[in-house]
């Protein structure tokens, strides 16, 4: 698969990748770093903030904030990681999620429907978008990476039509929901309910991935869709499950985020809440999180629980940098370097076939 076989010039000569593989396999430290890059960067980050912030970093409030921040994207992460394991890299979570939240805001604030109805309508919108997305991927057979860009572009257009017609001059609609705010503030053990919700979704999805037939099928489709089809797996059904999961998950996560910032907008609250420099990030934070946690970009490999570490890395970064009063530039650079490191590690792992 690596295409390196024809680079062997003489019989018995070792290819360059084979030599690197031998060196890395023989060195436990290098192997650990390659396999668990996220653990290493998380440790470095913790050490850095411990030294610079000291006690301020370990106050219960800061820890609570880190968990809450993590849960905002964390409720989407299992859906996203599952789809990536199933072979679909998605770049449309931000605009699609934003559109869902805008629909919820429109029906809740402007029309005046009860919150559950508004959320239900947002989920319906997610299903429509997810259906279109699945159709483009399965029937037109465009790769998910491009299809999600195109569908996201359409979603942003629809979102902008709504916010420009009914929203403020900043293309925002107010979204004040005491019920959802309650979820973000209260919960057992003084940990907000959204954090518990995140753990619940993680639990359900990890059981699904590792202990059910569907989970095995997702890994199979991600590894090799043609072979999966030949052995009788319903590839289309698995793909629809993955893509619908992403769109519905991103709409729900986006609604939670918007409840926190009390408005909905078409540019998406994901980047606003996580990077504080909306528009500066070209890659959805979920993709950085999964890839740096070792979910393979080509699909078929990855562990769900490790992505929790990826989430923690970002939320600790946001909170730590906030406490240090670092300017937004540093945060954008840090995210940028994290994704560069993540994709390079991913590429090295898959070339050397280490997993």
């Amino acid at each position: 698969m690596t295409g390196s076989s024809f680079l062997v010039t003489e019989v018995g000569a070792e290819t360059r990748s084979a030599r690197w593989r031998r060196i890395i396999m023989g060195n436990p430290i290098l192997l650990f770093i390659l396999k668990n890059g996220i653990v290493v960067v998380l440790l470095v980050e913790l050490l850095y903030f411990s030294f610079t912030l000291g006690d301020r970093f370990y106050r219960p409030q800061a820890l609570r904030l880190m968990l809450l921040n993590a849960s905002m994207i964390g409720v989407l992460m299992p859906f996203y990681a599952t789809a990536q394991i199933g072979g679909n890299v998605d770049l449309g979570t931000v605009p699609v999620g934003a559109l869902g939240a805008v629909v919820a805001g429109l029906f809740f604030t402007i029309v005046g429907f009860p919150l559950p109805v508004a959320i239900l309508l947002a989920v319906l919108m997610a299903i429509l978008i997810g259906g279109l997305y699945s159709w483009v991927v399965l029937k037109v057979r465009a790769p998910a990476v491009i299809a999600s860009l195109a569908v996201g572009s359409l979603a942003q257009g629809i979102g902008r039509v709504i916010t420009q017609t009914w929203g403020s001059t900043y293309f925002q609609i107010e979204f004040r929901t005491p019920v959802l705010r309650e979820l973000l503030e209260r919960g057992p053990l003084n940990i907000p309910l959204t954090v518990w919700l995140m753990f619940a979704i993680y639990l359900v999805y990890s059981v699904m991935l590792s202990h059910t037939k569907l989970g095995a099928h997702i890994y199979a489709v991600g590894t090799n869709p043609s072979v999966a089809r030949l052995v009788g797996i319903r590839v289309s059904a698995v793909t629809i499950f993955c893509l619908m999961g992403i769109t519905i998950g991103s709409v729900l996560a986006s609604i939670l985020l918007c409840a926190r910032v009390t408005y909905v907008g078409d540019t998406g609250a994901f980047s606003a809440a996580s990077a504080s420099a909306a528009g500066a990030l070209a890659v959805p934070i979920t993709l950085i999180g999964t890839t740096i946690s070792g979910v393979q970009l080509r699909g078929g490999r990855g562990s769900l629980w490790k992505t929790l570490l990826g989430l923690l890395f970002f939320s600790i970064l946001t909170v730590g940098m906030g406490l240090l009063n670092m300017p937004a530039q540093w945060r954008v650079i840090a995210y940028g370097l994290a994704i560069v490191l993540a994709v390079v590690l991913d590429s090295i792992r898959s070339q050397l076939q280490i997993d």
């Binding site: 295409g3 491009i146 257009g157 070209a282 530039q329 994709v343």
Partner: protein, 336 residues
């Protein structure tokens, strides 16, 4: 006459005929689409001097800008590595130009030379990730966008710089035969790209790599060098586009004005370039660019809201993707 009618009947009634018909429509729909757009916008904006020389000039200016980014995206897409770093490259280049030319008062030529050198370095950085570390081009370039924009945010305390020294505009809007220099630059770029792609070894190699990188490697095509070259050319073209749009707006572009990848990839796939690499002709891209420029110009002259613009660009991108992949599959130009 009778046989012609019979043939026409065959075209509509047999499956093979319908297939030929669909293939013909998908291959040529851009010509009538452009004509319809011109008629519709012409009628709607008749009283706003749609058919005036000034509007033609505006149209050519936006066409020139989109030609540069589309040319950049096209050659990288042809080798199978979609370059999504347009927003980052043009944004950082614009800020650097603002700092050198406006704040430090450098003359035009040295500023432009430095800008091109920096763009070359950015192209090389992309190529290190794509060629040497073998990261997928789309993902690698998207990753670099965040780094580039992060760097750009450090200059001038993350504020926009008003680029209003007249020298830059003088060069860029300098009229040659009634059209600004930008337009001639874009035309020259198109001609050079056409010659490179169709009449040089580099062009043949680009198509070969995009069609099948493994086959290209075993046939002795210097895959690494050719891919690196296209990525550098792409970065330089995007940088020049960044300079042009900075001069046009009179402001540095904070997050890159040439739009994100979803604005730039649209015309390229609308022009029939395969997103899988190896297929696509520059003549067809030009047609798609004219379509885009007429669209854009019409929306500008009618003062449409951003809502309609976003919606139209989204619909165009999605529609282009569907048509592109369907057409390429029909002509059996894709490996499954």
């Amino acid at each position: 006459m009778r046989t012609h009618l019979l043939k026409l009947k065959e075209l509509f009634q047999t499956p093979a005929g319908r297939r030929t018909l669909l293939e013909f429509v998908l291959g040529n729909y851009l010509y009538p689409s452009i004509a319809i757009l011109v008629i519709v916008y012409g009628a709607l904006a008749w009283d706003k001097n749609y058919f005036s020389y000034q509007n033609f000039r505006n149209l050519m200016m936006s066409l020139a800008l989109s030609t540069l980014t589309a040319g950049a995206l096209m050659i990288t897409t042809l080798v199978g590595q979609i370059d999504a770093s347009t927003r980052g490259v043009s944004g950082l280049i614009s800020v650097i130009l603002g700092v050198l030319f406006q704040l430090n008062g450098w003359p035009v030529l040295p500023s432009l030379i430095v800008v091109v050198i920096i763009a070359t370095l950015m192209g090389l950085a992309t190529s290190v990730m794509v060629v040497d570390l073998k990261v997928n081009g789309l993902i690698a370039t998207l990753a670099l966008v965040s780094v580039y924009i992060g760097i750009a945010m450090f200059f001038h305390n993350n504020q926009m710089i008003a680029v209003n020294r007249p020298q830059l505009q003088d060069v860029i809007y300098h009229d040659i035969l009634g059209l600004p220099a930008t337009v001639w630059f874009a035309i020259a770029t198109l001609v050079v790209l056409y010659v490179i792609l169709n009449h040089t070894r580099l062009g043949a190699h680009i198509y070969a790599i995009g069609a099948n990188p493994y086959a290209a490697t075993v046939s002795g095509v210097p895959v690494k060098r050719v891919t690196r070259t296209t990525l550098v050319i792409s970065a330089v073209l995007v940088a020049v586009a960044g300079v042009f749009s900075t001069a046009r707006a009179g402001l540095t572009l904070l997050y890159g004005s040439t739009g994100g990848i979803n604005w730039n990839l649209g015309p390229v796939i609308l022009g029939g370039v395969s997103i899988f690499g190896g297929v696509g002709r520059i003549e067809n891209i030009l047609l798609a660019l004219i379509f885009g420029a007429v669209q854009d110009n019409g929306m500008n002259i009618l003062d449409m809201r951003t809502a309609e613009r976003y919606l139209i660009s989204g619909v165009t991108f999605l529609g282009a993707l569907i048509i592109n992949v369907t057409y390429l599959r029909m002509r059996k130009l894709l490996r499954d």
